[in-house]
Amino acid sequence: MIATSFPWLLLLIATPALAAPLVARTVDRDLARALTVAASGVAFLLALAIAVRTQLAGPGALLVDPVWLPLLGQPRPLLGVDALSAGPLVLFALLGLCAAAALPSASARPGALARLLLIESTTFGMYGSLHLGVFALLWAASAAPVLSSLTRARARLVFGLYQAGGWLCLTSAIALLAWRGAARGAAAPLFVPELGAEAVADAAGLVVPLLVAAVLLRKGILPTHSWLPMLFQESAGGAAPLFVAAHAGVYLFVRVFALHLRPALLGAIPLVAVLAIATAVYGALMALVQRDLRRTLGFLAMSQSSFVLVGFLCESQLGTVGSLMVWFSASFALTGLALATACLESRFGTVDLALPRGFAGRTPRLGALFLVLGLGACGLPGLAGFVSEDLLFHALLERYPLVGVAMIVATAANGYTVLRAYFHAFQGPAQALPAIDDVGRRERLALTVMLLALLASGLYPRPAIEHVSAAIEQGSPGAR
């Protein structure tokens, strides 16, 4: 554990958090956008600097901020970053920046932009949190801006109930861990780096089912998934894809379960794996029959985000690397698709996929970006999705040969969904459409950055895979 002299992580979390109220009060939309992009840009640079510092600190290093929390008499650092959390920090900061830049003007109201900043801040906090209590607080806080983005009362109720259920499970599990830890005299039973063999014993009984339930609810895994497609359909302003791309449930799973409480979890792995695979297939099949483009993306996101969980359940390093690579490729591709959809809707209104709409006749560049981003999520060779799914399927079929084939079926269906969405939204007769400009420079730049990230890591994936593999090696407790 290396203490830094300056609270870099706190600054990273505080930058979007402080900018959010300022943006929300700004009347001028252009100024609000400029402030949001600036805050997200600063956050991205800070995340990059933190990642470089972590890399330079050497293998297995945990850089902690000089922000201490007194825990039962012995102070512990509140925030820290290691090789495993540095990657998601940079990835999410870049996603936030792209979302802030690509959000079309019609959706980029100050309130919506402020919500993006709050999601960024709370997610950075979750990735950097070293204390499970703080993690649980930020877990709840990250759902609040998304909840406020929903306008329909029933939608708010459904989303709120699922998220509150997940949070209750998480806090109950954490409270149980704390109580049992305190009973055996542990100095800091919720301090993640000190979760050891004793914590595994603490986690026996109710803790594991509660934590698993929290992960399932947050990830939208069957049968607790209904909020996810609804969120994509009803939440405007880019909040939905960012909330899903944060993968808080998976992060909790890896950070706490896979690295520290694995022996306690072993019994639950087959059940979670089957549920995750079923979700991948169900989401992929349901996406086939949707008419609304946003809802289609919701089911696609549901399918893809369960891919991320499945790899971790293969109990092999190959699977873990595959999962982290899918995390990266699916986050960029789905956020890009959602933003491209927002751009399309700002020009033509809600996109009904019942019949080909012919939007490419007016917005050919947006169509091309949509297609390539979509195929990036579904395994087109040369893009990151191909590499990540290749790794994932090899790990999966070795661990679960029969049900693993179902995942291949899911990815096949997802590819079809992307092409169907592209054909029905962008191709077809365009004569009746109004004369509207193609995607603007700002939107195009942001979407192109996302596409280039997918392309670069698809054509030359070795650095990304080596970094991820090293991070897993270094992130394990044994490495410290």
Partner: protein, 439 residues
């Protein structure tokens, strides 16, 4: 010629269309669509250079007595636990004819398309997709590992669907493209599963290692009958979709909605034979698995009969040629199943060349007919000869052929509609939970 020079030629033949695609795509994205003349020059140069590399490689291998060239370019990516995605090319007696066929026919079709698509909206898009298809096809045919073959296979599939839907102002081509893509994606499951199982059981994805190192067609596999049968059946399933064999052949006549040059190169020449290539490549697995071999023979013969029957009642020339392709590919697959690999390869090359010519001439079929009549000096006599079949059987076969064997109707009725009905019900349930209105 040195081995390094041969390796360089093989890489150049495969890489040149990919490089041309990258450059053209980048230029179009950053600057805008280039002129038709410039696109035509880039395409001509690319296919000529690829053909020249292939021809030189073939001649050098023949004169030097080299029967197998194993080009190892290292790992594209590797992961913990020993998994590596190798970038290996394999040039042998199976690859060289395919490479020559691919580069030569792509050059011909490219040259033809420049005039055919002159001033057509999407001129650049067509050639971008043609270059991407060429990259995929060359990658597929030269792949030294099943993983790399799958990458090429995927590129062929997506370009095929995008070219069927090339005329984007009309709805029918889009429907047909989706239909073809659905079949492709379904059958890709077979190839990807085969790739992972080969990795798992043979501990390698390299064909040379998995099949004992002997040059094609003399390879042998050390895998057990059960494993070999599973992998071979997965590959047969993959080939069914790509090569439009029964019962998954319904997409082929629909695929003729694309521009004629792409129909010629995809469904007359190359893409439709990709399944046959895959089965020739894994023929040691077929040797080990009588079940898969006989299944292949049965499917091939059924497809040949189906294609022959249905093709005879088609009222447009492209559909008729599509069914003729299906019939010939069925025979080629049956030959592969029977172990007649060299015959299958020769059959394949001859069929690809003939069908490309026929499809490229298809738009001029009426004109050709009138010229013939003019030369004949009147209406041409009707074709003679009828099958010696009872009238009732003949009319039943006619109705069956008109319904295209009722494969599509059966699939639609017993598989697609029930699945869509069930998914629709589930969607209504989802919406009820969240209180959303039905669309």
């Amino acid at each position: 010629m040195s081995t390094a020079a041969l390796h360089l030629l093989a890489v150049a033949a495969v890489a040149s269309p990919l490089a041309a695609f990258g450059l053209l795509a980048l230029f179009t994205l950053l600057v805008g669509s280039p002129s038709e003349r410039n696109v035509a020059r880039v395409v001509a140069l690319t296919f000529l250079s690829s053909l020249a590399c292939t021809a030189t490689l073939a001649l050098a291998m023949w004169s030097g007595g080299v029967v197998q060239l194993d080009v190892r370019l290292g790992a594209w990516f590797a992961a913990p636990g020993g998994y590596r995605f190798e970038l290996d090319l394999l040039v042998d007696r199976l690859t060289v004819p395919f490479m020559a066929l691919t580069t030569a026919l792509l050059g011909v079709v490219g040259a033809f398309s420049v005039s055919y698509l002159h001033r057509e909206r999407g001129f650049t898009r067509f050639f971008l997709l043609l270059l991407l298809f060429a990259s995929g096809m060359l990658l597929l045919t030269t792949a030294g590992t099943i993983d790399l073959l799958f990458a090429g296979w995927e590129l062929v599939g997506i370009t095929s669907a995008l070219l069927i839907g090339f005329f984007q102002e009309r709805r029918q081509p889009l429907r047909n493209a989706l239909r073809a893509f659905a079949t492709y994606r379904l059958c890709d499951v077979g190839l990807l599963t085969a790739a992972v199982f080969l990795h798992h059981h043979a501990h390698t994805a390299r064909f040379v290692d998995a099949f004992g190192g002997a040059p094609w067609p003399a390879g042998e596999t050390g895998l057990g009958v059960g494993v070999a049968t599973t992998i071979a059946l997965c590959c047969v399933f993959a080939a069914l979709g790509k090569s439009a064999q029964v019962p998954l052949s319904g997409w082929l006549p629909r695929a003729m909605e694309g521009p004629t040059p792409s129909s010629a190169i995809f469904y007359g020449a190359l893409s439709i034979h990709a399944g046959a290539y895959l089965l020739l490549r894994i023929s040691p697995l077929l040797d080990r698995s009588p079940l898969a071999s006989w299944a292949l023979v049965a499917i091939g013969l059924a497809s040949a009969i189906h294609g022959t029957l249905v093709g005879r009642v088609q009222s447009d020339v492209k559909s008729s040629l599509a069914y003729a392709s299906m019939a010939q590919v069925g025979l080629i697959l049956a030959e592969i199943g029977l172990g007649l690999r060299m015959l299958a390869l020769a059959h394949l090359v001859g069929h690809a060349c003939l069908r490309t010519l026929q499809l490229l001439r298809a738009p001029s079929a009426l004109q050709d007919h009138w010229r013939l009549e003019a030369a004949w000096g009147g209406a041409l006599p009707p074709a003679k000869g009828r099958w010696p079949l009872p009238e009732r059987l003949r009319s039943w076969l006619y109705r069956l052929a008109l319904d295209r064997g009722q494969h599509d109707a059966a699939l639609e009725r017993f598989l697609v509609r029930p699945a869509l009905w069930l998914l629709g019900r589930l969607d209504r349930l989802e919406r009820r939970v969240t209180g959303e209105a039905r669309p």
